[in-house]
Symmetry: C3
Subunit: 358 residues, 3 copies
């Protein structure tokens, strides 16, 4: 790609300060961009670099006031970060290998239908009675089980595995090694100490605009007709465990290595950090925010809470308690000192009581 600063400013609805005819052919970071590149300044921490950057142009906030001389062209916008991500997207679209067609060998079962403008990589496997929408990218080593449905514009990266009966919406992205629809962990204890497997007959539904990270696992529901459900706009990071019958509410974001136990219903617009664990059969309110490594053992009924600890409670209270936890040896020492003094006082008092009594 090569654009003039003016063309880019046009795309971003920004105002140019400097030579609008300068050529831009690459994106870069303000601290190490070179001539021909465009960077952005959003975080004030990086302001120092705008006075020394080699970038041909920098996207800045409308109200930016330079404190020293600037040698780069400026594009003034409302939100430099958003503007830059918009450019990134355009760039991505331009350079992406627009994979399409079918590489051989690949496998497709009976009664399966694949839409227009799709890509099917070598060694990809599509079972029987599968419906794939338009403009779907199925990379090499992807496994699509029988009766699966996939919407339009969805990307299955190499080695995604969809068990039979899974339903995936439109505009979803699933990363390598994600497993959708494996058996839930259900075993009935027997009298002899062994366990009998409870058949897992449900499925998984993944709604539109969902993103699923590498090696994340989502188990199917237990009962026929039920589905573990990931609602619209949910973003799941890598190596996450979603157990059977779980429901994740709209636009909830979960960071890596978090686990949600069976039948728990996580609300909408939750922000859940990494390595969090949820017990089973809970209901978590909307707009809950949960810190890293927290353990959620009870349902959260009030919206908008921020939680930390295992078991988790209010994050501010947790930090107050933890600050004292770190000083417990000192606390213990002070308590011992008090005990000594009090016992001494007691003895004095008792002595005095005796004296006074005399």
């Amino acid at each position: 790609m090569e654009f003039t600063v003016n063309q880019i400013a046009g795309m971003l609805k920004g105002e140019v300060q400097g030579n609008g005819q300068e050529k831009i052919n690459m994106l870069g970071k303000i601290q190490d961009a070179k001539k021909g590149q465009i960077a952005f300044l959003s975080n004030p921490k990086y302001e120092q670099y705008i006075y020394t950057t080699q970038a041909s142009a920098v996207i800045v906030k409308k109200d930016f006031q330079a404190k020293k001389e600037i040698n780069t062209i400026l594009i003034l916008v409302d939100d430099p970060y958003s503007s830059f991500t918009l450019l990134l997207e355009e760039y991505h679209r331009a350079i992406s290998y627009q994979k399409s067609g079918t590489e051989e060998p690949s496998f497709i079962g009976k009664n399966s239908v694949v839409g227009k403008d799709c890509y099917r990589g070598a060694f990809s496997y599509i079972g029987h009675n599968v419906k794939v929408g338009d403009n779907v990218k199925i990379y090499p080593h992807v496994y699509v089980g029988d009766n699966v449905t996939i919407g339009n514009h969805t990307i299955l990266h190499p080695n995604v595995k969809l068990y039979a009966d899974t339903k995936i919406g439109n505009h979803c992205v699933l990363h390598s090694g994600a497993v959708i629809g494996s058996d839930g962990f259900g075993f009935a204890p027997q009298e002899d100490g062994s366990y009998k497997t409870i058949p897992q007959l449900g499925s998984v539904i993944i709604e539109d605009h969902v993103s699923i990270g590498s090696n994340t696992v989502i188990d199917c529901a237990t009962l026929f007709g039920d589905a573990t459900t990931i609602h619209k706009g949910v973003k799941l990071d890598n190596l996450i465990q979603i157990a059977h019958n779980v429901e994740i509410g709209k636009n909830t974001v979960i960071a890596a290595q978090t686990g949600v136990s069976g039948s728990t219903k996580v609300g909408e617009n939750n922000m859940i950090a990494g390595q969090v664990g949820f017990a089973g059969h809970l209901v978590i309110a909307n707009n809950t925010s949960i810190g890293a490594q927290a353990g959620i053992s009870k349902s959260i009924t009030e919206e908008g809470q921020r939680l930390l600890g295992s078991p988790a409670f209010d994050i501010k209270e947790f930090f107050r308690s933890y600050a004292i936890f770190k000083r417990l040896p000192d606390l213990n020492y002070r308590l011992r000192e008090l005990e000594k003094k009090t016992n001494a006082n007691n003895n004095v008092s008792q002595a005095q009581e005796i004296e006074n009594d005399e």
Copy 2:
């Protein structure tokens, strides 16, 4: 499938109350089952639904006493939940795609033998000198390394990876992305700060009736002739880490994202929750129960303990300590108040002592 209520009652050795000729063609949940479906009532929490359910029949406990009028047929049994799972199994058997035969392209090495009634999916790979028993299902993208042995009736879901020399028993189920037999994490520190790899020459033995979840990893033992061993009836959930030379005792159940470090021997009939971590070289007694996110840093010698915390100790004591942890700021405040009072008392006492002395 379509059965009469009488036929189902016969299978379950239950007693019918209502029209035994009614037709049943599907399983359902008591709260949303429809005509033609059969549901069950086990948890008293759901009793309300039996008075309104549309299910044609409901399996209930022998001693169930209705508090209102019931419009559905009842099948009375000893244990409704077990009876229902029995039906589920039958149903599963009936509807399962009975995969069999070999899809092409698939790969099979020299001197490898596959038993009767097996399925080998497209793009499955079987190395050299492999022995596969009867009625084994090897799904697409499964990798079976050289010299592997697999018993009868075992299922390897898509993309299971068995490194060379692994031994798998009968009636095992391995889910997608499970990796068995990868190198243990063994590195010898060198004087220059770098690490030298210690070759991992052992293998993995998985006994009968073991279930292994998606993306779970079991490393091989270090020394030639040794094996990381998963004993009979063990159930491992998803994303679990089992390090080299570990042994997991009979009928132990481990939930998702738990990790067991090298050479630790977990006893029989343990119940281990999710995200638990075990240090290396421990021995854990039988019938130990470990709560979520616990950290086990010492061997457990006494059977039947219940543990929580990191490092873990008795679960009841943990909760008692944690209750006070949450109130530590208050504790600290009370201690400070006491210090003030005691110092004041002290001054008074000292003053009195002086007075008395005078």
Copy 3:
């Protein structure tokens, strides 16, 4: 392999005590080795076994002093453990299936070059413009995206996935299910509560002598030209999460199930235990040692620290605090007792003050 004790002693530059002509054909452990095997004694805990071992020879430390009669041949060396691992390596080299050549079907794209003495397993996929060095082993079901570079003597175990533009050095080992270069977890919140995906355009660089465990995930950097970087000699265990723009310093070792959040820079020669979590945008000093399940929420500026807890602090202080945490109910009880006494004293003191005043 079959060697005499003298030949092995020569390889190890050790001294023989006993019959140097004895034949050795296998390695074993001192406690259960048989005739024809060689074992080692390094940990004093195992000394008992040297008096009863059936091993034909045992490697011991130069200054080893037997306390009883020994019936096995000894090879005296400076460091028995290192000597034994040297033998293991030789043995490994000898027995390893020296996979080479290309199994079909396999896929290779346009303009891709593969060096000498490589192995390409069946169903392996190499995209376009890929450069593979000499003596590289690419096992079945491996995916190598477009523009990837791989150095010499590197092993990609079955089902390793390398996204486009990844760079892998020499002498690396990647285990099954490892995913390198998947999209970082970057989403910009929108006004309506939904999230917009921030395109992840960077790549991953893995330097020489790096080992990566099964099902570990390393995300690509966000900006074009940036790379998530794993420096020389790093050893990563299984199921680890490395987020976008992370840097792991030379010779750092990380145990299983640990997660490092975006843009964090881990120093050199760190020792990081399992299930540790790092927040994003941190800088961790060299030679830091972090205990299992710790949570690192702040940068570590001082080298050589040992940390534990979540949030983590000095490990010794953590254990001191935790010891008192376990006794908190007792502490609380003592505090209550003191409060009672002090209030009693107070009343006495006040009474006395009144008396004295009178």
